[in-house]
Symmetry: C2
Subunit: 275 residues, 2 copies
């Protein structure tokens, strides 16, 4: 059976390497392909692909558009309006979202708590929306500010979805200092990427949480170290989401030892390739 | 049936848009997918993919590696040692190369002749090797210099393949002026790419031939205009190669009117997207 990733670009994702390694260790014939889809062909692909395609991860820019081609939605997808995993069920696809599980893993494994903290979130896309939802349902931050390049557009999109006293949508020109900074933009996937926040935003001992996972340390993370604080990349989140994806695709957990070996090999291959 | 492109990165190719448009106009169920393959999964993909996959274009960095997974080779593939199209035939894949047909179209359609000219070629990869072969079998240039970042490595690779009195392998530091400059590197696929040659290399009224096709005019092409000469991009070559690919996949010509409409739509969509 075929599984894969739909998006554009898809070349930075580690999913292809991880899942093919899992399938290899499981000694089955499954394949995972990273498919780069241009906007004019998404429709054809979703309508014409044959039943050997059983499920896909979905990435930028199709996390919302994909819902036009799905029959059913997981409750979290209804809430977020975005899906990052689809699975063939019956005559159509069902849409899921694994961001919540991934974010929960990242916060709990690293002991991050944001009660009473000043939180800044960069980006307002799909994963940022689940981040906001996760924080508001688990913590009471002092302030939560969401930074985007177009605050007006973001305000219209997010308004009415969440109500929180100290939540504001701001532009990167509104400089203020924060305790916890979270990068929900794709900046950091490529080696030379800038940080969404300048060093000015980092209060002393700031915690930086980067949802990108390609590099050990991004510029965004480096600034936290320079503030005397700490930084966490998105790898725990990535692997937790992959476990969830596996569970959705195969309605079963991936065998612990296999997942652990595949995780190790993926980390090794991908970090060697990037260094 | 499934067709596609294998490589990394694949996001800049126009093939996916062109072929899906052709299939749409032909009203069949074929799909063309651009699959981004990492080096550790090429083997699995070639061994495990099911028979619904009938053929692929192959791009950087697998034009040589793909030959490990093919049973038969077209004569041009034997000569060049690289393949850019594979097709399922019998129990395995047969390797083809459409570069010669594409280069021939580019030269003849634009009336380019290089007899007695001083020719500089940037790059020594798969397409460069077919370019050298095409020029040597059709013209007698005054000099033909091949520029690479590692002339020593290129010398070892190309030595013995072609003999030509005035052919030299040089580094970009060896500055000299040329009448005809040909870009066989991927520089020019991305908007901010530099030119492989500095303006110094362009003699007065130089002709620049760029095998990249994504932009109307690349920096490499601009320098030719500044020399008072002319510049040609790789679009004629791209579409000619697509016709050849179609012929290989379906053992038949694509209907003239359909190809022409698909070509026009692809140009329109892709240039709109890039501008």
């Amino acid at each position: 059976m075929m599984y894969g990733l739909l998006g554009s670009p898809v070349g930075k994702s580690w999913s292809e390497v991880l899942f093919n390694r899992i399938f290899e260790l499981e000694e089955n014939n499954n394949i995972y392909t990273a498919i780069n889809v241009s906007p004019v062909t998404l429709k054809r692909l979703m309508e014409k692909m044959d039943v050997s395609f059983q499920g896909f991860n979905v990435t930028i820019p199709y996390k919302e558009d994909i819902l036009r081609y799905t029959e059913n939605r997981d409750p979290l997808v209804w809430k977020a309006g975005v899906s990052n995993v689809i699975k063939r069920e019956g005559n159509g696809f069902t849409a899921f979202n694994t961001d919540y599980a991934g974010i929960e893993e990242l916060f709990t494994k690293n002991g991050v708590r944001v009660d009473g903290k000043r939180v800044a979130i960069a980006g307002a896309g799909g994963v940022a929306r689940i981040m906001i939802y996760y924080i508001l349902t688990n913590f009471s931050p002092d302030t939560m500010h969401i930074f985007t390049r177009n605050p007006e557009i973001t305000r219209k999109k997010i308004k009415g979805t969440w109500q929180y006293g100290n939540m504001k949508i701001r532009s990167y020109d509104d400089m203020e200092k924060y305790d916890v900074l979270i990068n929900c933009t794709p900046l950091g996937m490529n080696e030379d990427d800038q940080s969404p926040f300048s060093p000015y935003f980092y209060d002393e001992k700031a915690t930086a949480i980067d949802l990108t996972y390609q590099y050990d340390e991004t510029k965004f993370m480096k600034y936290a170290a320079e503030s005397g604080g700490r930084a966490i990349n998105g790898r725990d989140m990535f692997f937790r989401q992959a476990e969830e994806t596996y569970r959705i695709f195969f309605m079963d957990e991936c065998e612990r030892e296999i997942f652990s070996r595949a995780r190790g090999d993926t980390l090794k291959w991908m970090t060697e390739r990037l260094s």
